[in-house]
Every structure is written in C-alpha cells, then in structure tokens.
Amino acid sequence: KGSLPLVINTWPFTNATIAAWETIYHEGGSAVDAVERGCSQCEVDQCDGTVGWGGSPDENGETTLDAMIMDATTHDIGAVGALRRVKQAISVARKVMENTNHTLLVGDQATQFALSLGFHETSLTSDKSRKIQADWINNSCQPNYWINVNPDPMLQCGPYHLPQSDKLIKSNTIDNPNTIISSSESERGHD
C-alpha cells in the first residue's frame, strides 16, 4: 500500500530516486520533470555501469544510449535508440516528445536531432569501457550474440559470415533461444 506522490525505480539507484523526489515533492515540478531529472541523475552517476556514458560497449567498443519518457496524461512518448555521442539520452527523448510528432529516433539521426536542439557531441567512451572492450577481445570475444555463423562465435572473434549449410559446425547451431544470454551475461549488462 502506498500514497502519493510516489517515486519508484528499478535497482538501488537511490540518488536517482532522491533527485526525482526533490523535483516532484519539494520543487513543484511535474511527474515528467521528475522522471527526466531522476533518469538524468543516473546517467550522470553512470548507475551500475548500465546507465549513461562509458559503459556496456558494443562489439566495436562504442557506447550507445537508449531512453524513453512517457506522459500518461497526454499519452505522449519520446524515445531515442542507439543514440551516439550525446550523453543526455533521457533529455533528448523528452525533446522528441515535446518538439516533434514522432515517437522514436535512432542512431546518427537521433544525434543530429539532439545537436540541432543544442545538445553537445562528445565521446561516450571511458577508461572502463575501453578495458571491458580489451578484455573481451582478449577472451576471444566471449560472450557474444551471434549464432549460426562462421567462424564459430562461441570460440572466435569475427568478422562472421553465413556458413554453407553442409559446413555449419555443431556448436554453432544454437536453436534454443534460452541460450541467447547466459546468467553470467545478464550480470555483465542489461536493459
């Protein structure tokens, strides 16, 4: 049982909770303001390495950001996917919500949208993400998310290509979707 106002968020990211609470309870901000501020705090804090710049590098070592914000009163939504070289993902998502009729912008085009509205372009790489990337390469690119390709993605780095059907090696034929992510991988990063 609860009461209002309420701030609730995933994980023990309490600085984010407090930031949102300050906005909604002490500063007279809206629920949308509070969500933006709370998530922004997590982006600055790089919560758990799974939020904000400098974490969870992709195969090429680049960090990209996904974010969404929703106003239930109007049923408006703004979102960005694979946002590159801009740190303030939730704030860019809010601009998508409030300054366009669209819902989701992605990749370099989302970056260009952000830059046009005054956000700054900067690298999202950190010493930590560089090390994560280097360790991954040194570990034969394990784990990774490729299946049914050659060379065997469970043993080697790419580049990968489609195998000829008669040469597909057994360990490479992962048909069970439950093996897409092992429990250890879930601990390395998550959405």
Binding site: G2, I8, N9, D58, L65, M68, E185, H190
Partner: protein, 137 residues
C-alpha cells in the same frame, strides 16, 4: 538500466527508462527500453510499469503494457507484475527480467525472473527516506 515511475499528488503519471544496453552487443542493437509498452508504459487514471533485464526478450512481449492492462483488469500491482513476468518466463525460463508496477493510488509492487532477488527503490510521503525493497524471483 533505470526504469522509473513518478505519480504526483494529483495522480498524474509519467514513466521513463535510460540505459546503455548490453555489453558486447552487435552494433545497432536496440533493447526494450525505448520501446513503448516494452521498457515502460503508463495510462492515465490507471498506473504504470517499467522494466529491466534482457531487452531482446522483453521487447517481444510488451510486458509493461501487459502489466498496465492487468491493473485495468483489477489486479494488484504485485500480481500484475507477476503475471507479465510469467508470460515471458514461460517461453524463456532463464531470462533475467524484472518489472516495477504502480497504480494511480500509489500502491506498488514488483516481480522478477532469472536472478535471486530484485531490488527496487521507493519513496512516498509514508517514508522519511528512500527505501530499497527486494522481491524474490
């Protein structure tokens, strides 16, 4: 990933997510976090839900949407979250998935799968500071 729900004293609701996704993802991959109904969802006068976990799985089920629909059907936030999680776990029993759910009265709950416990953070006028709750998965 952070998923957040805020409901003001008048019952106005907002929700959001922010994440850098999975380590070592294939370039161009986007998870569930920016997908409405998957990473988060809200309906006025009803409530909201937000998730975290394996977005490649979650985006196939729209669990946040399902949880809010469950609230409309009269479920408590905890039961609404459990139902949405179970729908995914039936297909992917090992996937790491978690949901927080709140209704427009400020009642809240959570459910999870694939990890031992799932912690989430809450503050409301009943509490003098942020409380971190844990649910068993």
């Amino acid at each position: 990933t952070i998923g957040m729900i805020v409901i003001d004293s008048n019952g106005l609701i907002s929700t959001g997510t922010s994440t850098n996704g999975l380590s070592h993802k294939i370039p161009g991959r986007v998870g569930d976090s920016p997908i409405p109904g998957a990473g988060a969802y809200a309906e006025k006068d009803v409530g909201a839900a937000a998730g975290t976990g394996d977005g490649d799985i979650a985006m196939r089920f729209a669990p946040a949407y399902q949880a809010v629909v469950n609230l409309k059907l009269g479920m408590s936030p905890t039961i609404a979250a459990k139902d949405a999680i179970e729908r995914m776990a039936n297909y992917f029993p090992n996937a790491m998935l978690a949901l927080i759910v709140a209704n427009n009265q400020g009642d809240f709950g959570a459910a999870c799968n694939g990890i031992e416990t799932f912690p989430f953070s809450v503050i409301n006028p009943n509490q003098s500071k942020v409380t971190v709750y844990r649910v068993n998965c």
